[in-house]
């Protein structure tokens, strides 16, 4: 399933420039530079505690880096709140699933449509005009584009808490997709899934990235090297806040420094399969 360079362009969608993030005195990120081109799957790998999730949080705005800049689509977004960045087209999933546990699958995904809807208190309360129309449009979109894509028809009315872990991961991806994002941050989407679920999830990520309908640029944080090397266009290796290397999978795999840094790290070149 190698297809490097097939669907990406050279246009940069996201750029991190010399980003520093400290917690107290500990530097989680010490001057990280990252350029993600439109249309690519850019993976971030590294040992536990390397700062991968911190990077995701900086991109999506949950953390504000103390130094450095984040550019999205050519615009400096440093001071923007996560909700504003979401409206600009950055969606994400979380390492530990952050779904709205008491709601149904459908309502969770509906929440992903929030930024594409406009109804306010009045029309919502009256359930007339825009609110009603929008709800039906949203349902239509969710059913046709997301539930169908992710094959979760049988659980649409189930409460999320009741679902097995693998399906919850899928619902979370669906909710992020409902934003129709331009950049999708996937934080360990394969962690804790069984073989079949890993295959499904990898297939969905490829679909989202390649299918004409979506063409979403993805940043993927993942430990499953097999899948990462298979589906990524570029791989960024992070170790204790520092970049080791950033390039196509082949290059990264051959990089002596990476091999050295991961010597003894069991999960580097193994995969769950």
């Amino acid at each position: 399933m190698t297809h490097a360079g097939k669907s990406k362009t050279d246009e940069v969608l996201l750029e991190l420039e010399d980003v520093h993030m400290y917690f107290g005195r500990v530097a989680a990120l010490a001057g990280v530079n990252l350029r993600v081109r439109k249309g690519e799957i850019h993976s971030i790998i590294g040992p536990n505690g390397a700062g991968k999730t911190v990077m995701m949080n900086c991109i999506n705005g949950l953390y504000r880096p103390q130094r450095g800049n984040v550019f999205f689509d050519g615009k400096r977004v440093n001071g923007y709140a996560p909700s504003k960045r979401a409206r600009m087209g950055i969606a994400r999933t979380f390492q530990k699933i952050e779904l709205f546990g008491g709601m149904t699958v459908l309502d969770n995904i509906r929440l992903g449509r929030h930024i594409h809807m406009k109804s306010g208190i009045f029309s919502g309360g009256m359930w007339m005009g825009r609110a009603r129309r929008e709800e039906i449009e949203a349902r239509n979109f969710i059913e046709e584009e997301i539930i169908d894509l992710l094959e979760i028809e049988s659980i649409r009315h189930k409460t999320v808490n009741m679902l097995p872990y693998g399906l919850q991961k899928r619902v979370e991806l669906g909710r992020a997709l409902a934003l129709q994002p331009r950049l999708l941050l996937l934080d360990e989407p394969l962690a804790g899934l069984n073989l079949e679920e890993v295959e499904d999830m990898a297939r969905f990520i490829l679909d989202i990235n390649e299918e004409e309908r979506w063409k979403v640029t993805c940043i993927l944080v993942e430990h499953d090297m097999g899948v990462v090397m298979d589906i990524s266009h570029s791989v960024f290796v992070l170790n204790f806040g520092h970049k080791i290397v950033d390039g196509p999978p082949k290059e990264v795999q051959a990089n002596p420094e990476v091999v050295k840094a991961y010597l003894g790290e069991e999960d580097m070149y193994t995969t769950r399969r």
Partner: protein, 637 residues
């Protein structure tokens, strides 16, 4: 709705007539998609079929050409089939879960030119055999998911096909009607591959006339209304589904509903609440099991209400079976039972609007059968096979006996051959097996169809089917006995999913049991038993005792020599993918007897444990090494 079946009438002609009659005023089919039941009117149906038909024609489909189809039950399946028939083609349906060998055999044997698959999965199967089947020209796909990197020349999407059809239609506006008009009733319309419990599948040639007369004759016995709903979810490659969705569906004009996904089918049936249904016994058995289990888990009030209501139901059903009038007090009790329990129960099963339910394709246990009548479901046996277009014999309202399959439908004659074989004759009897004259001659004797089943006709004129000739067992006292009968008795226990009776020409009868993983698993959870797999659970001593108690219960009403002496819990469930069952879920005895020879031998030796240490190679090349000890449990007989 009265349709006169003539030698001139074809399914496409009837289809066009119905579309004209209803137009946009009536819903022809509904599909649950995107969470709602999206309706298609007869006009929509017509437009789709016309385009697909002309699309196929522009690809070069000639009358008599075979079109193979594979996929789930979706409107598209029916459109494609109808389109192929309209163009004068012959439809060949494949089971969706068929392995590639099976697919290859059928496509090659039938000289298929066009293969229509629903999604990537089917296309992959088609592409895998494409080079080996020189006659195969085009593969049509419908669902675009995952198809973006498929660039082969032989592939074409259904949408593209319909565009071709549209172009052709604009060029020759009357072509479609001409094609339909060309058809004759004696033309072959469907080529069905029988699932055969022993040999390779044989292709059954059925004509339009066969199909239509069968439908007409069934409807003469049991008329349906055009406002009825029917749910199509069993494989199109099963004759029963064709009979209901196509033959009867067209003649009556009822609405055919398609479930969203195969795994939501039961839920979707409940939503629709069909008026008619036809399913193999396996499905009804599943329902009884579900009800029994839920009943066991419900609270005290509910449990006792249910027990009482069902007692009343059984009492009333028994009166009806005996054709005695139901006494007044029982009628009142029944009305109460209906109001308080049974109606709600039927609602859970999706049967509250059901007027008649048919079961066929295999034998159904009398216990199951009586259970549904106790609920107030008008369940009837159907007897027939692919070779007679599905139906020859059916129960009549008010004349139902749970150990028979009923009386012949109009136009059908039944007699018992010299060796006890059932012979049938009707306008629906097939033309012959495709490219297999030898088999045809064995089966068609002077227009009489040799069914290969043994049976007799009882004093009321009902046919009693004993079992397939080659499956009939001989008990220790020399009596013939049907293993299927015993198996269905065992399967009335909710804990038992499959049973296999052994004991022909042996000292005593034994059984190999497959536990129901979900039900027994839950039972074990309640008992705080730990297990991690089916294999482990099945070998628990407590589970053995549970199953043994269930078998002993069944033993009580059996004649002495038929009582089961020993049981073994198998470490896996019988599976069609492993060839242990046919695609219609019948046990392939010869095959399992070979595969589990070790078990069979051990059951007739003086041993308590079977050391299984074998490697099984499955159809798809997987190898599984089995190393386990199976216990044999002796029963108190």
């Amino acid at each position: 709705m009265e349709t006169k079946i003539t030698k001139d009438l074809t399914i496409p002609k009837l289809f066009v007539a119905k579309c004209r009659q209803y137009g946009d005023s009536k819903v022809a089919m509904r599909e649950k998609e995107f969470g709602i039941w999206i309706p298609f009117t007869w006009q929509d149906y017509y437009a789709k079929v016309k385009r697909i038909c002309l699309g196929l024609v522009s690809l070069g489909l000639k009358p008599g050409d075979k079109v193979a189809m594979m996929g789930d039950n979706r409107p598209e399946g029916l459109w494609v089939e109808m389109a192929a028939l309209c163009a004068g083609g012959v439809g060949v349906w494949l089971f969706r879960d068929s392995m590639s060998d099976e697919v290859k055999y059928i496509i090659e044997q039938s000289d298929t030119r066009f293969f229509i698959g629903e999604s990537q999965e089917e296309v992959d199967k088609g592409l895998a055999i494409f080079d080996e089947c020189p006659k195969l020209e085009k593969i049509v796909w419908d669902d675009p998911k995952g198809m973006r990197n498929y660039k082969q020349d032989c592939l074409i999407s259904l949408n593209r096909l319909m565009e071709l059809g549209k172009t052709l239609d604009e060029k020759e506006p009357s072509l479609f009607e001409q094609l339909v008009a060309k058809g004759r009733g004696d033309d072959i319309c469907l080529l069905f591959y029988t699932s055969g419990t022993t040999a390779l599948p044989k292709g059954v040639l059925l004509t339009h006339y066969n199909m239509l007369t069968m439908g007409a004759n069934l409807m003469a016995v049991d008329p349906c209304k055009e406002t009825d709903d029917f749910v199509s979810y069993l494989p199109f490659a099963w004759i029963g589904e064709q009979m209901m969705s196509v033959s009867c569906g067209l003649q009556v004009g009822y609405t055919v509903n398609f479930p969203e996904e195969p795994d939501t089918a039961m839920e979707n049936i409940r939503e629709i609440g069909p008026h008619v249904m036809f399913a193999p016994p396996r499905l009804y058995e599943g329902m009884t099991r579900q009800v029994q289990v839920k009943h066991m888990d419900s609270g005290w009030i509910k449990r006792n209400m249910y027990t009482l209501a069902l007692k009343i139901g059984y009492a009333a059903a028994n009166m009806k079976f005996d054709k005695k009038p139901v006494p007044f007090y029982l009628k009142i009790a029944l009305a109460l039972a209906n109001l308080l329990v049974l109606n709600k129960l039927k609602d859970h099963l999706g049967m509250s609007r059901l007027r008649k339910a048919y079961t066929g394709g295999a034998a159904m246990g009398p216990d199951h059968f009586r259970f549904f009548h106790a609920l107030g479901v008008n369940l009837k046996q159907i007897y027939g096979q692919t070779e007679i277009a599905g139906i020859a014999i059916v129960h009549r309202d008010g004349d139902i006996k749970f150990d028979t399959v009923g009386t012949p439908i109009p136009g059908t004659e039944v007699k018992i051959g010299e060796d006890g074989e059932i012979l049938c004759k009707s306008p629906s009897v097939f033309l012959g097996y495709y490219k297999n004259d030898e088999a045809t001659q064995k089966t068609l004797l002077d227009g009489w169809l040799a069914t290969g089943d043994k049976g007799f006709i009882d004093e009321d004129g009902h046919l009693v089917v004993f079992d397939r000739s080659k499956d009939v067992m001989t008990l220790s006292d020399g009596r013939p006995f049907s293993p299927q009968y015993l198996e269905t008795r065992l399967k009335f226990s909710p804990y038992v999913q499959e049973a296999w009776i052994i004991g022909s020409d042996r000292k005593y009868v034994t059984a190999v049991m497959c536990i129901d993983y979900a039900v027994v698993g839950k039972w074990a959870d309640d008992k705080k038993l730990n297990y991690t797999s089916y294999m482990e659970l099945s070998q628990k001593e407590e589970v053995y005792n549970l199953i043994a108690s269930q078998v002993e219960m069944a033993n009580q009403d059996l004649p002495e020599p038929a009582k089961i002496h020993k049981i073994v819990n198998l470490y896996k469930i019988f599976d069609a993918d492993d060839e242990e069952l046919t695609r219609t879920s019948k046990l392939r005895r010869a095959f399992v007897e070979k595969r589990y020879k070790q078990i069979v031998d051990a059951l007739y030796q003086d041993t308590d444990v079977i050391h299984m240490d074998t490697t099984i190679t499955y159809e798809d090349g997987r190898e599984q090494h089995i190393m386990t000890d199976l216990r044999i449990q002796k029963l108190n007989v």
